[in-house]
Amino acid sequence: MLKILKYAFFDLIRSRWSYTYFLFYFIITFSLLYLSADLSKVIISLMNIILVLSPLIASIFGVIYYYNSREFTELLLAQPIKRSNIFIGQYLGLVFSLTVSLLLGLLIPFAIYGIFYNSEIWNFVILIIAGVFLTFIFAGFSYNIALHNENKIKGFGFAILIWLLLAVAYDGIFLLALVTFSDYPLEKFALFATALNPIDLSRILILLKLDISALMGYTGAVFNNFFGAAKGMIISGLSLFFWTIIPLAMIIRKSSKKDF
């Protein structure tokens, strides 16, 4: 697996997509830092971008990479290695290269501006963690989608659809549900529904650092219990971890049964 990972990573990190992705984050972060003297404003803007974009890019690259390397995958399948190792290796190679682009794109501008000893830096760290989680999760989703669909266009369509659903539509339905049933106790439902969407989960993880003062403004006991202590951080972190594991397990399962 490590061997596959290594070569997949070397292949991808040199692709122009990696450079483009890196440059995108680099330019955005750099110009945000340049335009605004205020770090918390930069972090909020970056949060909006990362929560939407990193899942999208991970989804798109996931399907593209799978379909592009299909013939080479067949060659690998004929090598004396375990099937699941090939796919997990490729998946991790993809995710690591995306992560490197994300990390460098965000970190270098911060380093250039020398912002490491600011209290805001922990918000920034959480932001990066959320971005990395989302990259893992959505690349996992799209890899699964590609494994299940031989038709490229169908696979691509599904991947975008899942992203659209989780990034935008889900919150719309969620909001509608909350407003419609506002006469009922909704706290547990709200937390549960949040945990079912990795984007919302990452957002909550960041909010726990960034907007904890607003979250604490709510009077309900369940929320206060959740947001009040380290509990919220731990639970949302663990849930995100589960979201990372699930697609991975599905890749292993599907790849062991699939015909190529």
């Binding site: 061997k3 596959i4 070569y7 997949a8 070397f10 292949d11 991808l12 040199r14 692709s15 390397s69 299909r70 013939e71 080479f72 067949e74 060659l75 690998l76 399948l77 004929a78 090598q79 004396p80 290695i81 375990k82 099937r83 049964k257 699939k258 015909d259 190529f260």
Partner: protein, 239 residues
């Protein structure tokens, strides 16, 4: 020892039954051509042997090893896929190293690099290579390690005449070494020139297995292609 032994193999994709109660036993080494029209099950057969396609039922043995839930046996087989599509941003050299890595760190590409004059390309990215050069790289990968069995899927498409001569030479040499080489191809001249045995598939079944001479005699034809066409027509009109 049987090199390849397939017992009652069934494989269907959805409602489409590709291999139906398929049996095959190969004992003698040599060059074996697997022939048949599109959809006859050639590719499925090869991929079943390589473990890429998972059978619905039946057993496959390679050198008497049951390949079910096994992946080590693949170190016995060198496989050359039909389409040479490699990671675009790796160099040729890196690709060779990768495959050697995956095969337990063994192997030597040097003779083929010399033979195909690839040394100028070694540090080029695979995405920048021409189709013919890629096919040479593909060929090199297949033979990078010494294996008892080789499976080549349409091995000579896209090769220039000089390379073709060299490929044929290599295949003959390997045969002399007592290797078993399974080839699928549509190019009959290659079959006639090289094959020790042909296997003709139709609708997932073997309709003929034997030497070219036996084929011609059985169907009283001087031309192999004519003989094969006869099998094909007889059986499709009957249906």
């Amino acid at each position: 020892m049987e090199i390849i032994n397939i017992k009652n193999l069934n494989k269907s994709f959805g409602k489409n039954e590709v291999l139906k109660g398929f049996n095959l036993s190969l004992v003698t080494p040599g060059i074996i051509s697997i022939l048949g029209p599109n959809g006859s099950g050639k590719t499925t057969l090869i991929k079943s042997i390589l473990g890429m396609v998972i059978p619905n039922s039946g057993d496959i043995y390679v050198n008497d090893i049951n390949i079910k839930n096994n992946w080590n046996y693949r170190s016995l087989i060198g496989y050359m896929p039909q389409i040479a599509n490699f990671p675009e941003n790796l160099t040729v050299k890196e690709l060779f190293n990768m495959i050697k890595d995956l095969q337990g760190g063994l192997g030597d590409e040097k003779p083929f690099v010399d033979l195909f004059k690839l040394s100028a390309h070694l540090n080029k990215k695979l995405g920048n290579l021409s189709g013919g050069t890629k096919q040479k790289v593909n060929f090199t990968l297949t033979f990078i390690n010494d294996k008892p069995i080789y499976i080549l899927d349409e091995p000579i498409t896209g090769l220039d005449p000089i390379a073709l001569i060299q490929v044929k030479k290599i295949l003959k040499q390997e045969k002399e070494k007592g290797k078993t080489i399974l080839i699928t191809t549509h190019i009959m001249s290659l079959v006639e020139e090289l094959s020790d045995m042909i296997i003709f598939l139709l609708d997932g079944k073997i309709y003929f297995k034997g030497t070219i001479k036996e084929l011609k005699e059985k169907y009283t034809e001087n031309n192999m292609e004519q003989a094969l066409a006869k099998i094909f027509l007889n059986n499709t009109t009957n249906n």
